[in-house]
Each structure stands twice: as C-alpha cells, then as structure tokens.
C-alpha cells in the first residue's frame, strides 16, 4: 500500500534526528497556528503563494536560503563537536558513524543546493529586472514554478531527517557507493529527488533570467551598458543551462540503476562504468561552484564601485574575465579526481587548465583593488563584506592553485586541506557575497536599511570565525588528516579540531547576529527608512525608483546608454526627470499553478517516488499534468494599472525626493 514506507521508517531509536525533527515539526505547527489565528491565510495566498511579482519571489528564495543556512549550520556544528570530542578524549564522540556520514552529506547538499543557490537566484530575481529596466521577468508564471520547485526540494531533503534517512555518500554520491547494492535504504533516493526537483527549478530560473536579459532590456541598453551584476547573471544562466542538464541526466540514470536494476554506473564486469558517474557528476559539479561565485563577483563589483564612488576600473576587462571564466570552468572537471588513474598527460592537461582560471580571477581582483584605490571610499556594511572577501578569497584561490598541481594533489587529496580550501572559497566568496548583497539591496526591497552596528558585528563574527574555524584545517590537512572521518581520530589532531570548533561557535554567533540584525532593523524601521529610494548614492537603474518599488517597477521605462546611468544623471543634474509620458501598464495576474503543481504536487510526487509508492506517484503526476492542461485553456489575463494611478504614484515619489532636498551627485 505505502511502498517501503512503514511506521519503522521513523528512526525511533535514534534520539538526535528524532528530536531535531520533532523541533522542526513544532516550529512548523507554530507557524501554521499563528497564520490561522491571525487569519492570514487569504493574505498569504494572494500575496505570496500565488504571486508572480519577481521581487516577492526573490524574497521567498532568500527566506528559504536563510532557513537552510541555519539548518546546514546545525549540521556543521554537530560535525565540529563530534570531531573535537573524537580527537581529544574517548575517540568515540557522541555521533555513530552512520549518522555522521548522513550529516556531512546533508550539510554539503543543503548548503550548495538550498542555501547558496536560492540566495543567489533570489538576489537575481530581485535585482536583474530593476537593473535592466523591466517590469517583471520574461516568464512570471515559470518564475513561480521555479521557486516552488525549490521549496519542494528543500522540504523533501528535510523530511529525510525524521522519515527514513539521508544518503551516507557525500554530497556528490559517487557510484557504486550510491548504488542499491551498497546503499540499499532510501537515503540516496532522497538525494536524487531533492536534487532533481530543485535542479529543474534552477534550470527554469536560468532560462528565465537569460531571456529577460537578452530580450527585456530598456531602450538603448546595449550588452556593454549592463551593470556587472546583470552581466554575471547572464553568464551564470548560460552556465546553468549548460551543466544542470548533465546533473538531471545523471540523476535519471542513477535512478534507473537503483529503481529498475539497470547497469549504468555499476562496477560489475561488462555492466556499467563507475568512472562515468565520477566524470559526469564533476562535469556538472565544477561549473556549479562557478555558478555560485560568478554572481557573487557581480555583487562585489556593484558594491566596490558604489562605495568607492567611482566608475569600475576596467569595466570591459571585468566583463571579459567573467566570460572567460564561464568557458574555462567547463574544461577543468578532472581536477577533482587526479588520483583516480587517468594518467600523467591527462592530469597535466587538467592541472594546467585549472591554473589558467587564476588569470581572469586575478584580473578581477586587481580591477576591484584599482577601483578602491583612489576612490573616495565610504565604509558601510556591504563594503566591509567586500573587503573581507578580497582579503580571504585570495588565500582560497592560492590553495586552489596548489591543489591543481597533480603532484601536490596526490599528497593532500581527500584530506582536511581540501575541506579548508573549498570552504575558503565558498564562505568568503559566496556567503560573504550574498550577505553583502542582502545588506546592499535590502532597503530597495523593504524601504528601510538594515541596522549598521549589527551588520558590522555580523561581519566580524563571520570573518574571525571563518579564520579560526578553517585555518586549523589547512594545518590538519597538511598533517594528513583525512576528511569524512568521525571516529578514532588521531589524538595529534585534537588541538586543531578544538580550535576549529571554537571558530564554528563564533560563526554560530555570526548567524545569530544576522537574525538579530533583521529584528532590530524591523523594530527601528522608521528610523532606518529609505525615503528617496537611493540610500547608498547608487549608480545603476534600481536606485532611481522608489523603495520599495511599485509592482510595475518603473512608471516610465528610461532610455539607457551606459551602465552607471543614474550616477551620471545625478552628476549632470538630470536625474528624476519630470513631465513623463505616462501610459497604462499591464501586469500579469496571480497564478496558483506554480504553488499547486510546482510546489505541492511535485513535492508529493517526489516523496512517493522516494518510498516507491507507485500508485500515488502516478496520481500526483497525472493531476499535475492535468492542472497544467486546464490552465492552458484559460484565457491569458492581465491586470491593467491605469495611467492616472501610475502618474499619481510617481509624482508622489518625486515630491518626496524633492522634499528630501537631495543635492545631486557626490552627496556626502
């Protein structure tokens, strides 16, 4: 009846996951109860669950990302605690190995797929249409489908905590370990379907961004007039469209092996080919890290230029560097398995292509430095994150070049050195980047700034915490400590691992500080209000409109002929033009399709697939398709916002700007 799902699928005799799951259930129930008692269901439905507004969808993405940051960090601190215990006293710690293995796998998957990726896509959703002067993304309904697919994937992976278990295979689930023979439980199936569902959402989001940027730009905006964040989004979208299909295909094939007994990635004689899995997963996996870092580079570019109050040094070089990285990142995947016997020449080739990536990356670092150099730098929270990034990321890049030397790689492969390296690029690179972007664009979305003092506190906790948590791992790695171990850790690693634990605790307070900052800012929102829509003396189009922007963003879409248009206009005194030709605006209507088919049904479908409840799976799939078909019969409807209303709103905004009496350009 219910496939493999029985009452014993719940890990009754494992107190830790059970308690964690219980807490999650309680929180969810509390949230649902609050919504019910405050009678907010209708509000939630019309404003959030069925919305097609790119800004709101971006907000949902980021909420998911922050929740998943907490979940992923909970895993991290558990691991750090286990290792600190297992390397000092009793050698055993408190987590059994099969549980520890699930935790590092879940941590990796959650952080990459459900924290970093949604955070990035959320920022893209909010910012890109504003930067290119568009009223919404190209496909608003598809956008709703994307977000709810991502949410469904996130919920699915968290269900594995209390119903069944998660994969014990690491975040890339190498075959044949991930095959049925060696991983008979549902853990890998949770892995497959949560990746599949959210990966589909990511692919759709990329197509959406790509079309939005290529076909939706404001009048006159040539490609080389686009702000750098938009550029990096364009390149990231291309990269997503190029490699996520490989992941989708690989997961389909792994599922065929596991569910139907195919012989694709098995290692039986004359059967499958396990090296093919390793190649395919890294053909996706390496570009994936660039999918995360390129948008972060875009964010830093905007911030460095804005807070140095200067045009970016070498705009074109920065753009070409992004494009170069995009293509080069497709040619290096083998550096993840130098030790798997590809031979000297192949290893040399991939080692060299990897090192080449340091060149465009170096170009970018120098461009940012030269932008800051000679600029009238104004310190604020986003800029501090950017500077922290510049300091720490260079180190992570250099250890990357070390790992790219096959000979060195042979001796530190699979050690904590690798763990330190990729966290060194991902935390100061991606996490600092999204937190910088979060502080930078928050006022645009909500109409008030985030609290500065708490912003600084967050930064320092993360910055110092990161160094304390990961510098020891470089040393432990040099000393040969393997990664992914949890028991009987050599006592000589004890001191390193205890220090690393202290660093993780600092980061814990850094995460607490993010939450505190948010609540303090909400409490002080009147004091922190952003009246003019231009809190940072910005340069690009998004700062020329009100905060928060009206649902249609621009009353009249401006003509654009350079990336820092708004800045230039402020310098010339032509910003905030009056006497515009207002027109009626047509905006897409809400749709339930994304939430119902993309979220609820896709979520249920993947859950039933995990547990092989075939009859239910068929029903959910059928209903989803049917809803889709029925929806396509409905007439396409749009809401008309009459031009009088547009005019009234816009004039009120211009009035406010005038009252604020903003001196144009170079205001201190």
């Amino acid at each position: 009846m219910f496939g493999n799902l029985t009452i014993d699928s719940i890990p009754w005799n494992e107190p830790i996951p059970l308690a964690a799951f219980g807490v999650i259930i309680l929180i969810v129930l509390a949230v649902l109860a609050t919504i019910t008692f405050t009678k907010r269901w209708g509000w939630l439905w019309t404003n959030w669950l069925t919305t097609t507004d790119h800004k709101k969808i971006g907000i949902i993405y980021i909420i998911v990302a922050i929740i998943m940051l907490i979940r992923g960090f909970a895993d991290a601190i558990m691991m750090r605690t286990q290792l600190a215990l297992a390397s000092t006293g009793d050698q055993v710690g408190y987590l059994p190995p099969e549980h520890y293995d699930q935790i590092f796998s879940a941590h990796g998957v959650i952080m990459i797929f459900f924290m970093a990726t949604p955070f990035i896509i959320g920022l893209m959703n909010i910012v890109v249409p504003l930067q290119v002067g568009k009223r919404d993304v190209a496909f608003p309904t598809l956008n709703a489908v994307s977000i709810w697919l991502t949410v469904a994937g996130a919920i699915l992976i968290n269900l594995s905590l209390g119903i069944g278990e998660f994969a014990r295979t690491g975040w890339v689930a190498y075959a044949p370990l991930s095959e049925k023979l060696y991983s008979p439980s549902v853990g890998v199936d949770y892995y497959i379907w949560s990746l599949q569902v959210s990966g589909l959402g990511t692919t759709f989001a990329a197509i959406n961004m790509f079309v939005t940027i290529l076909r939706g730009r404001a009048r006159g905006m040539k490609l080389f007039d686009m702000p750098l964040f938009t550029w990096s989004t364009l390149c990231t979208s291309v990269l997503i469209m190029a490699v996520f299909p490989i992941l989708t295909a690989t997961m389909i094939l792994l599922a065929l092996d596991r569910y139907l007994g195919f012989e694709i990635f098995t290692n039986t004689l004359g059967g499958g080919n396990q090296m093919m899995y390793v190649n395919l997963i890294w053909a996706w996996g390496h570009p994936e890290v660039y999918i995360l870092i390129l948008p972060a580079f875009g964010i830093y570019s905007e911030i460095v230029s804005t807070f140095s109050r200067k045009y970016l040094f070498g705009y074109k070089a920065l753009v070409w560097a992004i494009i170069a990285i995009l293509f080069m990142s497709l040619t290096v995947w083998l550096h993840h398995f130098f030790t798997m016997g590809a031979g000297v020449n192949v290893n040399a080739f991939f080692g060299i292509t990897t090192m080449f990536i340091a060149i465009p990356t170096g170009v970018k670092v120098f461009n940012w430095l030269f932008t800051i150099y000679g600029g009238r730098v104004k310190m604020d929270v986003p800029m501090l994150w950017a500077i922290g990034f510049l300091i720490l990321f260079v180190l992570g890049g250099m250890t990357g070049v070390m790992l790219a030397i096959p000979g060195v790689n042979y001796s530190v492969h699979n050690t904590e050195f690798v763990v330190a390296h990729f966290h060194n690029t991902i935390i100061p690179g991606v996490v600092f980047g999204v937190l910088a972007g979060y502080n930078f664009w928050f006022p645009k979305v909500f109409g008030f700034r985030l609290h500065k003092g708490w912003g600084y506190t967050t930064f320092w906790l993360w910055f110092i915490g990161f160094i304390v948590a990961f510098a020891p791992l470089y040393l432990a790695g040099f000393d040969g400590m393997p990664r992914r171990i949890s028991q009987n850790v050599d006592l000589r690693y004890g001191p390193y691992l205890v220090v690393a634990w202290v660093g993780a605790v600092l980061i814990f307070f850094g995460i607490v500080a993010i939450i505190v900052q948010l609540f303090v800012s909400i409490a002080q929102r009147h004091k922190l209000q952003d009246v003019t829509g231009d809190p940072w003396d910005g340069r690009t189009l998004e700062w020329s409109i009100a905060s928060p922007p009206p649902s249609y963003n621009f009353a009249v879409i401006p003509a654009v002929d350079e990336p820092d248009l708004f800045w230039k206009q402020k310098q010339e005194g032509t910003a905030y033009p009056e006497n515009k030709q207002y027109q009626d605006i047509y905006m897409p209507k809400n749709t339930a399709l994304g939430f119902v088919a993309g979220g609820v049904l896709a979520g249920l479908l993947s859950f039933t697939l995990v547990w092989s409840i075939w009859w239910l799976a068929i029903i959910f799939f059928g209903v989803a398709i049917l809803l889709w078909i029925i929806d396509s019969f409905k007439d396409h409807e749009e809401i008309c916002i009459p031009k009088e209303e547009v005019e009234k709103t816009d004039l009120a905004f211009l009035e406010k700007v005038k009252q604020f009496n903003m001196p144009q350009g170079g205001r201190e």
Binding site: T248, D257, E263, G270
Partner: protein, 202 residues
C-alpha cells in the same frame, strides 16, 4: 480584464512580445534538453562494448524496423510543418487534419518502438542484462518518453484549436509544439545513426 482600453495597442504589443519571448525561451529550453540527450548519447557510446558476452548490437538490431520508424517520424515532421503552414493561412480545419495525421504517424513510430522493446525483452535482452542494453534502453526510451509527451500535447492543441480557434496564445503554443516535434526528429536521426547504424557496423 482591460478596464478602459485607452490604448489597446499597448496591450497587443506586449502580448506579441510575450509570445516572441516564449518561442525564444522554448528554443533555449530545447537546447538544455539537447544536453540531456547528449549525456545519454555519451553514456550509450561508453557502454556500447559492455555486452557481458551476451546480446550485441549486431545480433539484436533489425535495421528495417528502425528504418520504418525513421520514415514514419520524418513524414510526421513534414505533416507537422504543413500544419503550421495552413495555420498561417488561417485554414484551421486543415491544420487539425494535418495534426491528426501527425498524431497517427507518431503513433506508428511509438508502436514500432514498443514492439521492438518487447521483442528484445522476450529473448532476454533486458536493460538489466548488460551495460550496452542499459544504455540502449535509456537513450531510446528517453526519446520515446519525449515523444509520448508530444502526443499528449498534440491532443491538447487539437482541442484548443477546435474550441478557441487560432488565437495568439494557441498559435504560439503550436509554434512551440512544432519546434519540439522537429527537435525530436533531429534527435531521432542521431539515434538512428549512432545507435543503429554505428551499432551494427561495429
């Protein structure tokens, strides 16, 4: 729900732009789908020699069957093209007729494919029996699944044409469908060359 209709042109313009965007976006989607197929092709080629001393391409493949499939599918692409032409001229009845023809040809293809699969399984050449057959069934099966989706899509389009006529939304959707169908045709030509022709010549 246009209230005042003070500038109907604007709305029309925007709808036209949305329709163009859809065609472009769908084209991009097809490119991502092509990468999925590309991965399956690569897998097939890597696994081609893994026959576990059992069934080989030479002993299994019946080229005449694959050839008839090819003819059916190519012809269906042709009728699909004609359907789009008549749609442009506003001859909706003919469009529906041509779509029915396309549907029948697609059905013939699918029937032949299923027959082939079943005949393989009957003699023990199951996807579980070797790497080669796993690769074969997953690649050709993936194409078959796409084609089945195309068949359902076709039914929906015929219903929409019959009930709603050639509105902008319907013609756009038909354009997307025809892109999809031609795309599957091209993929099939690759399958015919790589799987069948290359398979038996090894």
């Amino acid at each position: 729900m246009s209230t005042t209709l003070s500038s109907p042109n604007l709305e029309l313009l925007q709808e036209q732009e949305n329709a163009d965007n859809k065609v472009f976006g769908f084209w991009i989607y097809l490119m991502t789908d092509a990468i999925i197929f590309g991965t399956f092709f690569a897998v097939f080629v890597v696994l081609l020699k893994n026959t576990t001393h059992g069934h080989t391409p030479q002993s299994l493949f019946d080229l005449s069957n694959a050839f008839i499939e090819t003819v059916a599918l190519l012809t269906s692409s042709l009728t699909c093209g004609f359907a789009m032409l008549t749609l442009k001229q506003g001859r909706i009845k003919q469009t529906i007729l041509l779509l029915i023809l396309t549907f029948i040809l697609g059905g013939i293809f699918l029937a032949l494919e299923i027959k082939e699969f079943l005949s393989f399984i009957e003699i023990g050449a199951t996807p579980q029996s070797s790497g080669f057959l796993s690769g074969f069934f997953s690649l050709v099966g993936l194409h078959g699944v796409h084609l089945s989706i195309g068949m359902i899509w076709m039914i929906v389009m015929m219903l929409q044409l019959a009930t709603k006529g050639a509105t902008l939304a319907v013609t756009t959707r038909l354009k997307l469908f025809s892109l999809f169908w031609h795309f599957l045709d091209i993929i099939w030509i690759c399958i015919f060359s790589v799987v069948y022709l290359m398979g038996v010549s090894l």
